[in-house]
């Protein structure tokens, strides 16, 4: 059975309404298909009853309710796992965690009471403190400090990492869509040096313990707290490899050009604050080789930006300090904000490219149809007309990291939420 149909029949019925709802089902996906395909779905058969589709629709709307369909009241809650699992061998327990989909299928540190208690000593917050309540279909379930500690242990973190992971937990779980949604996590402030997060050579690569375990903790936390299980309620068609570590790195604040503020300071925090910032997006395009004098680096970045969705004007440009220096000295960008403004004014794409994106269709078209500008006007343009879709320079973030080895950079569509102060979770 198609996964989404399965979801509708089980989860929606059991947990959204408490009673069975009547469904008819066509194959998935239907967006972006040739018109004949969608017409074929309607003139074809219902996947569930094998009746002609419109007969099934009429039946579902007109047949008297069964006793089961007359059930009222709150849906029954799913039974929950016990706080402690029965004792077993380490191998068996690891196999159990894999079997239940509780980890990322890499080797985990088993969350024994002793290890979890040690992790909890990394914060002044009480184990039963509720960080947030995850509102999943079956009801609201609290995410406590202790639950985050369990994930932190599983990921291989140490107690000194725990305040960072707790701050991250306020942003959990990570995105879950049908396309390849992912996250980017940026560490700023004194904690970066204190815990030796990597902001130098290979800042975004697998060469640093803090980057590795904190990024992984967000994955495990998101999967377990959000109960994301493949093919049941997590169904990104392709998925995203970024979700193994969530692109976690620190900003190289020491190497920022004069006048360029760290990300957290741009967001209103003091330089002495330690902050973790989480972004959400899909796309990352890497530069290849060094920047060339022939074509200014910010022009090439601008060109690459035409491939981004521009949903919410969101973009995050991650660059080596050498690129930041070049942009400041050779091209006159005295602040990050000036560069963001330049991108907003100069990045273009065709109207067809813009409206051809599924997220834009679902998010922006309703606003355009209600008359919101500039979208209403853009809707009337021919496909080959050029538009400037990054209308909000505040949504274009610049982050400097890396080892000053090469003038390389990434253009991404990650939209950054306001950072979370780590010091509040110490």
């Amino acid at each position: 059975m198609n996964n989404i149909v399965h979801y509708a029949l089980t989860y929606v019925r059991k947990y959204d309404t408490g009673m069975p709802l009547r469904f008819v089902a066509v194959p998935f996906p239907f967006t972006g298909q040739p018109k004949e395909v969608d017409v074929g779905y309607v003139t074809g058969k219902d996947m569930l009853t094998d009746q002609p589709m419109m007969h099934a629709v009429v039946d579902a709307l007109t047949k008297p309710l069964t006793p089961e369909e007359k059930i009222t009241g709150a849906p029954a809650e799913e039974s929950v796992e016990p706080r402690l699992l029965p004792p077993d061998t380490e191998d068996n327990l690891r196999a159990l965690f894999d079997e239940r989909g509780w980890a990322d299928y890499n080797w985990i540190n088993l969350p024994t009471e002793k290890k979890v208690m040690a992790m909890l000593r990394g914060t002044s917050h009480k184990p039963d403190e509720v960080i947030k309540t995850i509102n999943i279909t079956g009801g609201a379930r609290p995410l406590t400090v202790e639950k985050v500690a369990i994930s932190a242990v599983m990921a291989g973190a140490s107690p000194e990492h725990f305040p960072v992971i707790l701050a991250l937990a306020t942003q959990a779980p990570f995105g879950n869509s049908t396309s390849s949604m992912a996250n980017m996590v940026v560490i700023n402030g004194p904690i970066a040096k204190k815990l030796k997060f990597n902001s130098g050579t290979n800042a975004m690569g697998p060469y640093n313990r803090s980057n590795a375990v904190v990024g992984r903790a967000f994955t495990i936390l998101s999967k377990t707290a959000g109960d994301l299980r493949n093919g049941i309620n997590a169904w990104e068609s392709l998925g995203s490899n970024f979700q193994y570590n969530n692109i976690l790195y620190a900003e190289n604040e020491d190497a920022l050009p004069e006048g360029w503020n760290p990300l957290h300071v741009q967001m209103g925090y003091k330089p002495s604050d330690s902050v973790v910032t989480v972004g959400t997006g899909w796309t990352s395009i890497s530069s290849v080789g060094g920047s060339q004098e022939l074509y200014p680096v910010h022009h090439l970045m601008r060109d690459y930006m035409s491939a981004l969705t521009a949903s919410g004007s969101s973009a995050t440009i991650v660059m080596d300090p050498t690129v930041a220096g070049l942009l400041q000295t050779a091209h006159g960008f005295k602040t990050k904000e000036q560069l963001s403004e330049w991108f907003s004014q100069n990045a273009q794409k065709t109207a067809g490219n813009y409206w051809g994106n599924g997220v834009i269709q679902s998010v922006v078209v309703p606003l355009a149809l209600q008359g919101l500008e500039p979208y209403a006007s853009w809707r009337k343009l021919p496909n080959d007309a050029m538009i400037k879709p990054f209308t909000n320079p505040r949504a274009i973030h610049i982050v400097v990291t890396g080892g000053k080895i090469q003038t390389t950079w990434f253009v991404t569509d990650f939209g950054m939420r306001r950072g979370v102060k780590i010091d509040d979770w110490a």
Binding site: R83, P87, T89, D227, R394, R417
Partner: protein, 178 residues
């Protein structure tokens, strides 16, 4: 050797898939999600003003600014049916569902322009549904002075006889707003 491990993280094994994210419940104390007009301010006059840190703007100020500068985007936070029935003329609709995490609306909220004054309003007496949207806009990086909640919401706007639109309005009322 046998070990005993905590499975507490797994307390709660159900998830809803939304297009954007698994959701988290907002702060308690929100009004009902949709439907007809919500309780009048008189009925809840003793209530504490929710989200007092969210700046309010009066209907008079908004109406004046629309006339003089025209750089205002009004956002109705009711559900689409209620919005369709009656809303401030020119407003767009972004639904605030108090039973869901406000971040579910992030993709849409981020589409709002950053260079205009954005005014959220609800059909509720003390901006119970519009104020959380203002706060979420701050989290998304919008300047604090560019996002406000309409004091008194739709009710106050209507009391002042300012322009409305919607299928439930008598034609004469709609024309008044033209």
């Amino acid at each position: 050797m046998k070990v005993r491990v905590l499975a507490g993280i797994l307390l709660g094994l159900l998830a809803a898939m939304t297009p954007a994210a698994i959701s988290a419940r907002p702060a308690p104390g929100k009004s009902q999600p949709s439907g007809k007009a919500k309780p009048s301010s008189a009925a809840t006059a003793k209530d504490t003003l929710p989200d007092p840190d969210v700046p309010r703007i009066t209907a008079q100020e908004v109406e004046q600014r629309i006339k003089t500068k025209g750089d205002v985007v009004l956002v109705d936070t009711d559900d689409s049916v209620t919005y369709g029935a009656e809303h401030i003329k020119g407003a767009v609709n972004i639904y605030y569902d108090p039973t869901q995490d406000v971040t579910n609306a992030d993709q849409t909220l981020q589409a709002l322009p950053g260079n205009k004054l954005i005014v959220f309003y609800c059909n509720c007496p003390h901006e119970e549904d519009s104020a959380p949207m203002v706060k979420e806009m701050w989290e998304l990086g919008y300047a604090k002075d560019k996002v406000k909640a309409l004091e008194g919401g739709l009710t106050r706007w209507e009391q002042l006889g300012y322009p409305l639109a919607g299928t439930d309005l008598p034609k004469s009322t709609q024309e008044k707003g033209q």
